[in-house]
């Protein structure tokens, strides 16, 4: 406990953190974004290829308590995997919560396509191959 010794040190919301610090038992967080076990999801490849936080997780900066804003169903994942140029952004803007999550206009889609080339993102056929996610 470094920060919360000083910031909001008495807040009741942070009682689990203080209890964990006292007893040495970890906090058991409930997963909000949970995929089924047969889908092997790797987070780092998405972040490193220009898929921003808000694209999948929504406006986390405006959530008092985190909730799942996307369906996380396979059809939802495929929307992007079939057309990655619509959802990819510059790597520098990955943490920008205000970035509009979908490229709609023609220029934006062109720009998205150039990002695919720049970031060496795999082609649609590879992205929609079953073994990319299921093994």
């Amino acid at each position: 406990m470094n920060c919360h010794k000083q910031i909001w040190a008495d807040s009741p919301y942070l009682e689990p953190v203080r209890a964990s610090f006292r007893t040495g038992k970890p906090i058991e967080w409930i997963r909000v974004h949970d995929l089924p076990d047969y889908a092997y999801f790797n987070h780092s490849i998405h972040v490193n290829k220009g898929v921003g936080c808000s694209t999948c997780h929504g406006r986390v900066d405006e959530m008092p308590i985190a909730y799942q804003s996307s369906s996380l169903q396979m059809e939802w994942c495929l929307e992007c995997h079939r057309n990655p140029e619509r959802f990819v952004r510059e790597k520098g803007k990955v943490f920008d919560m205000n970035w509009r999550p979908e490229n709609k206009s023609a220029t934006e889609i062109e720009y998205g396509r150039s990002l695919l080339v720049k970031y060496r993102i795999q082609g649609k056929q590879v992205l929609t191959s079953c073994s990319t996610c299921h093994r």
Binding site: S20, G24, K25, P26, I27, E28, W29, I30, R31, D34, P36, D37, Y38, Y40, N42, S44, I45, N48, K49, L116, V117, K118, R120, I121, Q122, G123, Q125, V126, S129, C130, S131, T132, H134, R135
Partner: protein, 1058 residues
């Protein structure tokens, strides 16, 4: 049409077709066959070809089936109705409070250690997921695993070190998590603490003090560990009258005695097969059974490579008493009776006499002085070893391809004599405190020196340290549970003496103790921890542990240290310690080479009793190819591993020749008596001179000499483990130790008597047959084998014509503009495969493949994703013209027959060439496996995976789904490894290099027979191998366009012979 009608109609049709073919000769001229039934084209064989799963495989009348069915239904009913219908149950994220250093959850760490399973240790690199060891592979940085000396222009050459292991090392991960392992320290079945044990020992030692330890006896296995060796020396100094005995059942006493006879002292002989052009093996299975086998196999394979520059192949002659893997790879193989072998060896030494091929071999060897090897099998008598030493000496091989060094054991003794002394002391009542460290002597001591209860009870206090509460533990007062090597600090020597310091991968699961901890108690050091013991030893002996190195008088060490390990200079012990443990070996610690001269006049051995009485057979006793001497009997993976030549699982057999089988029991094949289903073979009684009888099932092996029977050790245990006892609580297999004596441990003679009993054998020999089910006269092109001369002489290979296809070709090269476009493929070189089966076990470990048990194996339901088929050649079952091994994983066909027939698209083709298997879509139609011509698909007929046992949950690879019942599975080219490397390299912004992605089977293959890589990259090893002239597609005429192709075998026979 009702079910039964349909059944009858097909049966009639099939009989009709068979009758039509009746008049003609049955597949005369068939070149390759896997079993005698196939050669004879018996109805049982045809059944196997027609149906992948034998008729009546599922019998509703069978009471066991019904019970199982109801149990399963009951279980699934119980699971179904509860807990409201949620999308999926909530999962939790639980962070570390104190994260172990360097660990990132989800990324694996690798640690170097060694597997000291028996004899010499194998250096390994163990993968650890979240602090649990999950997979074992060889340590590529270890000097023993340095890259092979392949011809420079050979495309198959791997510039990296080898990560090979043998099957025992691979399967030892299952032993670590075995729920049957001993979990508690006990005194006569009561659980006790370590402190009470130490207290009891102190009292016993106090009694011994006035006698200086005269009543103490230690019985250990041969010790090669320097730390334990020094502890034993300390002990014997503290207790001068105590004695140390060493015994293990598969000992190398004969090797030792042979060396003493020829060279005057016991030695450890090591070989450089990569410098040998001609090799003569006298019943030595050096490709699978020796301490240095992994290195020898790799070097041997290097010499069999034929390239543009290097057109010469080595030549291997094998004279043996029973067919073996090495015999299968030989250019010339002769199987002779054990009694004849010495005569042949003498003739070879003299250069003439004996059979006519002897002089041809002798001439050939003479023409390759200094570049040849004569090697004698461990089990051969000392005289034959001495003859081999004499031959090597005469050929000038010593110092060039054959090297002598000090024995690996700290204290090399004749183990039979050591056991005899212990037995004498026990019988005369001199033993008061007996400490049995490891091993299982109650089970595996020979019948004349048996440590049974009558003998053992004369020792007042018996202490036993072992991993299981086995037969020995049950007869000892104190049983201390032993730590597995993956839980231990220690050290061990590999085959050439290089020391590896063992580090634990996990805290002892059950608080087990290592050998060092136990021995420390007897030295009065009760609280020493293993880390401290090992560290103290190396602190004192660091410089002695490393030999003088190159150029120091005695000649260079056998394995040259890899360049750049300038570790000797590290003055500070701590950094040396950390570096050594990190690397996995102590640099320059290989035993230095000694120059010794062998005597050439080898005295004749005492005349052995040759079996002459009727019904009397010469017997060859061998350790079992997958259970070794019995210590792995509770390891399910090894029990279910089909043995290389017999392909028997869950049993041991007594191997006889076709003629002998007919003579004894009137049978001509291995179970063709029952149509369609199991192999029932007759059992015979084996009776030794003392009247001990063992009843064993016989197996007919093509090539076995007549009147010789081979029996295997390691089975018939009365230990009550879940695996060792089998489903029926009966011992699995027969106990060969009951008829093994100490004076004839490897070759003897027995009476063989026929019985009326039959035995069900689960053998995979006939399973997954790839022959044409239409019984056409054309034999399918499965195995290709040529001689080197034929290969060089023939014109450029016939053009590879591609059959027309209605499928559009996949655009493997044009997928993304800038991203790497991979196309995965594999090449398997049949010339290199030695049939060791390490690939099968590695695949099982990596992909969470379950075992199914003997009953299910008998129904062709074994789950191995890669199988190694054995093909015999020729027309005479008694003398096959050669044996070939063929590993068969999924071919990942471009025009896969399995893909279009799946009604739910559970198996589809990925854009990179993989045939994907999506378990969550599969509904279990099984049409795909029906359509597969290679029969590589496996179906989970039941819930084979054990989901409940907690220890197995630790063992499983988290990257691979654990399959439930009703889904099809198959080889995936280790897609989890492909994805892991792809993700890593894409994040780094580069292309994956050739050799970064290594499938599990490729990693452990000792001879680099399996090569995986990117076919789109023209410079990758696999691309170059596929351009080789020997390359062909298995069943290519079916136009499946498999991505896994094979390279045909080459043999180099001596033109003077036959």
């Amino acid at each position: 049409m009702s079910d039964s009608d349909r059944h009858i109609n097909f049966k009639l049709m099939r009989d009709h077709i068979l009758a039509m073919q009746d008049g003609k000769d049955s597949r005369a001229g068939k070149q390759y066959w896997r079993s005698l039934e196939e050669l004879a084209d018996s109805p049982a064989f045809q059944e196997f070809v027609a149906r992948e799963y034998p008729q009546q495989a599922e019998e509703w009348h069978d009471p066991i089936e019904r019970r199982t069915f109801i149990k399963l239904m009951g279980a699934s009913l119980a699971l179904a109705g509860l807990s409201g219908c949620v999308f999926q149950p909530a999962e939790k994220i639980v962070p570390y409070i104190k994260q172990p250093e360097e660990e990132v959850p989800g990324k694996a760490l690798f640690f170097a250690t060694a597997a000291p399973l028996f004899g010499a240790a194998t250096p390994v690199l163990v993968r650890s997921n979240e602090g649990r060891p999950t997979k074992i592979e060889g340590n590529p940085d270890h000097p023993n695993n340095r890259p092979g000396d392949f011809p420079v222009d050979d495309p198959g050459r791997d510039p990296r070190g080898s990560s090979a292991t043998d099957i025992f090392t691979q399967a030892s991960i299952l032993s670590l998590y075995d729920p049957d392992r001993s979990q508690t320290l006990t005194f006569r079945e009561d659980i006790r603490t370590w402190t009470s044990f130490v207290g009891a020992i102190r009292t016993a030692l106090d009694e011994q003090r006035p006698k200086q330890g005269g009543g103490i006896r230690f019985l250990t296995q041969p010790i090669t560990s320097p730390t334990v060796g020094s502890q034993m020396k300390e002990l014997l100094q503290a207790w001068p009258q105590a004695k140390w005995h060493q015994y293990e059942p598969a000992n190398r006493d004969n090797v030792r005695a042979g060396a003493v006879m020829a060279l005057g002292q016991p030695v450890n002989t090591t070989y450089r097969f990569d410098l040998a052009d001609r090799i003569l093996s006298l019943d030595c299975d050096f490709l699978s059974c020796l301490p240095g086998s992994l290195r020898y196999a790799r070097d041997f394979a290097a010499k069999r490579r034929v390239t543009e520059e290097n057109k010469e192949m080595s030549r291997l002659y094998v004279v043996e008493t029973t067919p073996s893997n090495t015999g299968a790879k030989a250019d010339h193989q002769w199987c002779v009776k054990p009694s004849e072998l010495e005569g042949i060896a003498r003739a070879l030494l003299a250069g003439s006499g004996g059979p006519d091929w002897v002089s041809a071999i002798a001439r050939d060897l003479q023409q390759h002085k200094g570049a040849s090897i004569v090697i004698a099998g461990d089990q051969q008598s000392p005289v034959i070893h001495a003859l081999a030493h004499a031959m090597n000496s005469a050929l000038g091989n010593v110092g060039k391809t054959v090297f002598y060094s000090d024995p690996l054991e700290v204290n090399s003794v004749d183990q039979r004599q050591s056991l005899q002394e212990l037995v004498n002391d026990l019988d005369s009542g001199h033993v008061e405190l007996l400490v049995i460290v490891g091993g299982n002597p109650v089970y595996d001591t020979p019948s004349d020196l048996k440590l049974d209860f009558e003998r053992l009870k004369k020792a007042k206090l018996r202490v036993n340290l072992s991993q299981y509460k086995d037969e020995t533990s049950q007869l000892c007062h104190w049983h201390v549970n032993e730590a597995h090597y993956l839980e231990s600090w220690g050290d061990a020597r590999s085959y050439d003496g290089t020391v590896t310091i063992l580090q634990p991968l996990i805290q002892p699961l059950y608080d087990g103790k290592t050998v060092s901890e136990l021995l420390a108690v007897f030295s009065g050091q009760y609280d020493r921890k293993p880390l401290e013991i090992v560290k103290t030893y190396w602190q004192a002996n660091r410089n002695q542990g490393q030999t003088a190195g190159a150029g120091a008088g005695a000649g260079q060490a056998v394995t040259p240290p890899p360049a750049g390990t300038g570790n000797v200079a590290a003055a500070d012990f701590e950094s040396w310690w950390r570096q050594t443990i990190h690397d996995g070996f102590v640099p320059n610690s290989a035993s230095p080479v000694k120059t010794l001269a062998a005597r050439t006049d080898v005295p004749a051995s005492a005349p052995t009793t040759v079996a002459t009485a009727a019904g009397s057979f010469e017997v060859v006793i061998r350790t079992d190819p997958s259970i070794y001497d019995g210590r792995f009997a509770n390891n399910g993976w090894l029990q279910e591993l089909p043995k290389p030549l017999t392909k028997v699982t869950w049993d041991n057999v007594a191997v006889v020749s076709p003629n002998s089988a007919f003579q004894i029991a009137g049978v001509r094949d291995n179970g063709g008596s029952t149509i369609g289903r199991e192999h029932y073979v007759p059992k015979v009684d084996l009776v030794d001179q003392r009247g001990n009888t063992v009843r064993a099932p016989i197996w007919i092996m093509p090539g076995q000499p007549d009147n010789v029977i081979t029996i295997y050790l390691g089975f018939g245990r009365s230990y009550k483990g879940h695996v060792a006892m089998g489903a029926t609580d009966e011992p699995v297999g027969y106990n060969a130790y009951a008829i093994r004596t100490s004076y004839e441990p490897w070759f003897t003679s027995l009476q063989v008597k026929k019985t009326t009993e039959q035995h069900l054998l689960a053998t995979t020999q006939l399973h997954f047959n790839m022959e044409d089910p239409n019984f056409s006269k054309e034999e399918r092109d499965i195995v290709r084998s040529k001689t080197v001369d034929e290969f060089h002489r023939e014109e450029k290979h016939e053009e590879k014509h591609e059959e027309p296809s209605m499928y559009e070709p996949y655009p493997y090269k044009e997928q993304a503009e800038n991203a790497p476009n991979y196309a995965w493929g594999m090449a398997i070189d049949l010339n290199n495969c030695v049939g060791c089966n390490a690939c099968t076990i590695a695949c099982q470990a990596e992909n969470n493949i379950p075992i199914v048990g003997k009953d299910q194996v008998a129904r062709s339901r074994e789950m191995h994703w890669i199988r190694v088929d054995t093909y015999f050649r020729g027309m005479d079952p008694a003398k096959p013209e050669g044996t070939n091994f063929m590993p068969v994983p999924c071919m990942h066909c471009e025009n896969a027959p399995c893909e279009p027939v799946c009604p739910v698209h559970a198996t589809v083709h990925s854009a990179e060439g993989l045939n994907d298997m999506v378990y969550n879509r599969c509904v279990g139609t099984k049409y795909c496996s029906n359509n597969c011509p290679y029969k590589v698909r496996r179906f989970n007929f039941f819930l084979y995976n054990d989901w409940d046992t907690q220890q197995y949950q630790l063992m499983r690879n988290p990257e691979v789904t654990v399959r439930s019942r009703g889904v099809m599975e198959k080889c995936t080219y280790c897609v989890q490894r492909i994805q892991a490397v792809k993700i890593q390299t894409e994040i780094e912004g580069r292309r994956a290099q050739d050799g970064e992605i290594v499938t599990a089977c490729q990693a452990v293959c000792p001879t680099e027979a399996i090569v995986f890589g990117d076919v789109n990259d023209p410079n990758s090893r696999v691309s170059k191998l596929k351009q080789n002239e020997r390359n062909y597609s298995l069943l290519g005429e079916l136009n499946t366009r498999p991505r896994t192709t094979y390279l045909g075998q080459l043999k180099n026979p001596n033109p003077e012979i036959k």
